[in-house]
Symmetry: C2
Subunit: 231 residues, 2 copies
DNA sequence: CCTATTAATTGACATTTGTTAAGCGGTCGC
DNA sequence: GCGACCGCTTAACAAATGTCAATTAATAGG
């Protein structure tokens, strides 16, 4: 593994306070691997064998039942999936695929669990990480149950624009179909949602979205810190 | 606290392996209190001050934004809420109210966090509990995004019938409006969903629901272990 | 037992979302 | 440079869901 990759992983909240030797052993047991776009990294219903860390690129977590499929989450550097299944030694509830060329660190489930037992600092970090994952998912559930498609898109755009530096414009970093699935709608519906938001000053040219009237958009979206903000 | 209440709490996976003294201290710091129906126990956006354990009765976790409201979960004996907010010392993302006369144990957040630091067994149990909470929520999210109302109801009924002893009948233990909110629909829509399921042998008389053709119902519901079964 | 109140159901209608099909526009490989 | 492909958009229609109003059923109090 490159030294700079180890460094960024070391800085993750999950690993920051892990004892030096335990971290070294954990990393040593792992595999750092590059994947082309579209590779399925894990499959729902498979026994959880690795904790995955996205070092570069993007991973999409998705799931299906009864012939339908949806996107649960997009994981970017430096983020991980799926801790819960690894810790409980159970099957994955979600699949994951790369959306672009990606660098993924795979830590054997057994090593992760061993580190958990060996290092209280890691255990503490795991508790915080899991609690955060749970809360993010609850936010998502609220978003989905309490808003319609256009409202979800509006809030998603506001959040993305903020994360990209509040320049009044957003670059959508994935295919729109993926955004649609992430927001719980069809691509056709996403187009309609964009059309709806045009009334509130949202201008789209391809993957680039501009806000010409932020206050109107915010008034429509009614962002709520208990739904839209990270902890 | 009555001795039998302490005993059932002791048997919870979360507390089962906690060291004796630590458990005693934690329980001692708590309050066991009886509430009439309809009492709001916690309010979203409030700082998490207590871990709540439902000893008797039922608590409804709900949340709202933009004037709308929905039910996230129903907690029955012996279950707890909301561990994640307590551990992270953050605000609740959900409110909770009693649906009936209930006995609730309230453990001060500070004591819970202290026990976490004091007892590795508790920390381990917390990890498993949180991982389970996360997975349950992911299942819920999949259910919501991948199924329509009638399908969600069908699977909910199948699960409830199983939990009540697989007698071919289900007693719905809460108001139907609550079931509707739990399943992400309006009460009117729930009525329509029941009407749809009548085609598959679902007969309802008030709160009692009977299956006259289980295989037809299952064929319609297409239950999926990755969505519908507990871990 | 009766009445007042609330929940549940039903119907009509509006809105939202999904589906199907067509067309547009860009990209990639030949 | 051209054609095939793919993603996105648009339109028309269908299905699902929400809303409003009225009625019926269930429940609790007096």
């Amino acid at each position: 593994m490159r030294i700079e990759d180890a460094a960024v992983i070391r800085e993750l909240p999950l690993f920051r306070n892990v004892e030096h030797g335990a971290f070294a052993r954990l990393i040593d047991a792992g595999f750092l691997q590059r994947f082309p776009p579209g590779v399925v990294l894990i499959q729902e219903s498979d026994r959880a064998d690795f904790l995955h860390v996205v070092v570069e690129g993007t991973a999409e977590l998705f799931a299906g039942t009864g012939g339908r499929e949806t996107t649960i989450e997009l994981v970017r550097p430096v983020g991980l999936f799926i801790l819960a299944a690894v810790l409980r030694d159970q099957v994955y509830l979600q699949s994951a695929r790369t959306l672009e060329r990606s660098l993924i660190l795979m830590l054997p489930a057994e090593s992760v669990r061993a580190t958990l037992e060996a290092d209280p600092a890691f255990m503490r970090a795991v508790v915080m990480e899991l609690a955060g994952d749970y809360r993010r998912t609850i936010r998502d559930l609220k978003n989905l149950k309490l808003r319609n498609g256009a409202e979800r898109l509006a809030n998603w755009l506001i959040r993305a624009e903020l994360e990209q530096g509040a320049t009044g414009a957003v670059e959508i970093p994935v295919e729109k179909r993926t955004v649609a699935a992430r927001l719980g709608m069809t691509p056709e519906n996403l187009s309609r949602a964009f059309a709806t938001l045009a009334e509130y000053g949202v201008r789209t040219k391809g993957a680039r979205v501009e806000f010409t009237d932020r206050s109107a958009l915010v008034a429509y979206a009614k962002p709520d810190p208990l739904v839209d903000l990270p902890d």
